[in-house]
């Protein structure tokens, strides 16, 4: 073994050690809270502290799903709101993305700019008029109000992602179909959509997560029976007796869908966050 070889092995070990170190540093808070959700109240406050639970318990989770607990209903509310938002956003957004991606639309640039700026809007600027209108309409607290307002941001994401994807489809296919007499609607539904299944799935997951994670609209537009998971988690701390273990457990359950999404793939992630940055 030459000296040069030895240095290369050493530097490889150093890189791995640094990479794992960085990862552990960033994931430590998550892992600590996950561990905390399996601890008894006594152990959470114990000194010297434990990192991993000495006597793991499922009590915190059991309490969340106890018969009188409101938590299961908030999970259901989050699901319903996210489904409404995703259905609306996909239904309207995919068609719009296809139109904006085609080169046969005049003023497409201006239209794109308008639809794409939604992502930039400060939510707090929209929530005031929403609150006022839904209050007047007597819809304050309805899951439809929450789902539809979440769709504003979901639709922006759908258009960002799907427009970027449709632009990668070869234009020859579309032109060939047009020569054969197919209408725009037929090309869209029979050619473009079937070719985009993977992108559609990724887009749907993203718009679901956008709604699942949304907080401001949910907290303003919901009432006690229609609280979503983030709203319920936020209201924990305001209570007189805070069960820290249950708070940790509820937080872990709330971020499960997000963690599942990490594994969907970085490629789609990047398209979803910043189309145009990558081709």
């Amino acid at each position: 073994m030459t000296a040069r070889h030895g240095i290369r092995i050493l530097s490889a070990v150093a890189v791995y050690a640094a990479a794992i170190g960085v990862l552990v540093l960033f994931l430590a808070p998550l892992i600590w809270v996950a561990a905390m959700s399996f601890k008894t109240r006594l152990e959470i406050f114990a000194w010297p502290p434990t990192f991993f639970p000495a006597e793991p318990t499922l009590q915190n989770y059991a309490n969340l799903f106890a018969p009188r607990s409101r938590f299961p209903a908030t999970v259901a509310n989050s699901f319903v709101a996210a489904l409404i938002a995703t259905a609306v956003a996909l239904g309207l957004g995919v068609a719009a993305a296809y139109a904006l991606a085609s080169h046969r639309l005049r003023h497409a640039r201006a239209a794109s700019f308008w639809m794409l700026t939604f992502r930039m809007l400060p939510p707090v600027a929209l929530v005031l008029p929403f609150y006022f209108v839904f209050r007047q309409a007597g819809l304050l607290g309805s899951l439809w109000a929450i789902g539809l307002t979440h769709a504003v941001f979901s639709i922006a994401i759908v258009i960002w992602m799907m427009k970027a994807y449709f632009e990668t489809l070869p234009r020859e296919i579309e032109e060939a179909a047009r020569v054969d007499g197919a209408t725009t609607w037929q090309i869209f539904t029979r050619i473009a959509l079937p070719l985009s299944r993977a992108a559609l799935a990724a887009t749907a997951i993203f718009s679901f997560l956008t709604s699942w994670n949304e907080f401001l609209f949910s907290v303003i537009l919901s009432r006690a029976q229609t609280q979503t998971v983030p709203v319920a988690v936020a209201s924990f701390v305001g209570e007189v007796y805070v069960s820290w273990g249950e708070l940790a457990a509820a937080t872990m359950l709330g971020l499960l869908p997000a963690l599942a999404l990490v594994f969907v793939g970085q490629r789609y992630l990047l398209i979803g966050i910043a189309p145009g940055a990558v081709k």
């Binding site: 960033f26 808070p29 600590w32 639709i155």
Partner: protein, 283 residues
């Protein structure tokens, strides 16, 4: 083509354009829901009030400090981590994927997690600092001079992965021939970074910085979850200030004025940064 666009266009009119027009009309009215049944026209008095409101200028300053400090830290840390992760070695791919976890989490959950981590009574951070011999660790969220930096720390924790993602994509676009040529010329690692990597990454740094600035400027959930603007007003961002005026004090006229001003700032930032991005990418 237009029929495909029309439904989304209609939705955007109802849920974005009309509310924004409503916001503008409300900003010209005096209307506190708890006091008056109906709005009364107030002209630009809400805007005059805003300009002389110290709390507004304070929250604006807090927001700018929050945005600059958190985005600069995210960019620096994100670039460093991306250079470390930019290898197609066995296992690095998995590390990269797991590293994305914080940015997928709802900011509200991130805030809650860190509230627990920074707890005075049982927090992990306190335990670690005591274990390494630091007897009086900072009070984190209860210290008015430190709370903002504590929240910034959480935002850096959450969004560094976002920068890493962009930087890794950027690093892929650098032709390896450039490095080979630099090697032939006998350039060291530092000079390669200074004269090849950094300039090639510049457009990516600008565009990711733009995203992060806009999102940072709007920060609300994190503040709500961690400090509710306190202690005092030390972490009151402009989003939180708008929320408080509108939905705690129900002063719809004044909060609409603030919201619209904030919207104008975000739009200006978007345009400014877009223009900067275009300049950086054509260079």
């Amino acid at each position: 083509m237009w029929p495909l666009l029309a439904p989304a266009g209609g939705f955007s009119v109802v849920f974005v354009a009309l509310p924004l027009i409503g916001l503008f009309v409300l900003s010209l009215c005096n209307w506190t829901l708890t006091r008056a049944r109906s709005p009364s026209f107030a002209g630009v008095s809400n805007y005059a009030r805003m300009l002389s409101d110290e709390a507004f200028w304070g929250s604006l300053g807090t927001t700018v400090l929050f945005t600059l400090e958190s985005v600069l830290l995210q960019l620096a840390l994100g670039l460093a981590v991306a250079l470390l992760f930019n290898r197609s070695w066995r296992g690095i791919g998995l590390i990269r994927t797991l590293f994305l976890a914080p940015m997928m989490i709802a900011p509200l959950f991130a805030g809650m997690i860190w509230r627990l981590v920074m707890s005075e009574e049982f927090g992990f951070l306190k335990q670690v600092l005591l274990a390494v011999g630091i007897e009086n660790p900072p009070l984190w969220l209860n210290d008015p001079t430190f709370a903002l930096h504590a929240v910034i720390m959480v935002s850096v924790w959450q969004w560094t992965a976002f920068v890493v993602l962009f930087m890794l994509a950027g690093l892929q676009t650098i032709p390896p021939e450039l490095y080979e040529a630099a090697d032939l010329d006998g350039c060291g690692a530092l000079r390669r970074f200074r004269y090849i990597t950094l300039p090639m990454l510049m457009p990516f740094l600008v565009s990711v910085g733009m995203f992060r600035c806009i999102d940072g400027f709007k920060t609300f959930d994190l503040i709500y979850a961690m400090t509710a603007g306190g202690p005092g007003e030390s972490t009151q961002t402009i989003s939180y200030f708008v929320y408080q005026q509108g939905l705690n004090y129900f002063d719809l006229g004044y909060s609409s004025t603030l919201a619209l001003t904030m919207l104008a700032m975000v739009v200006a930032m978007t345009w400014g940064l877009l223009a900067a991005g275009r300049r950086a990418s054509t260079r």
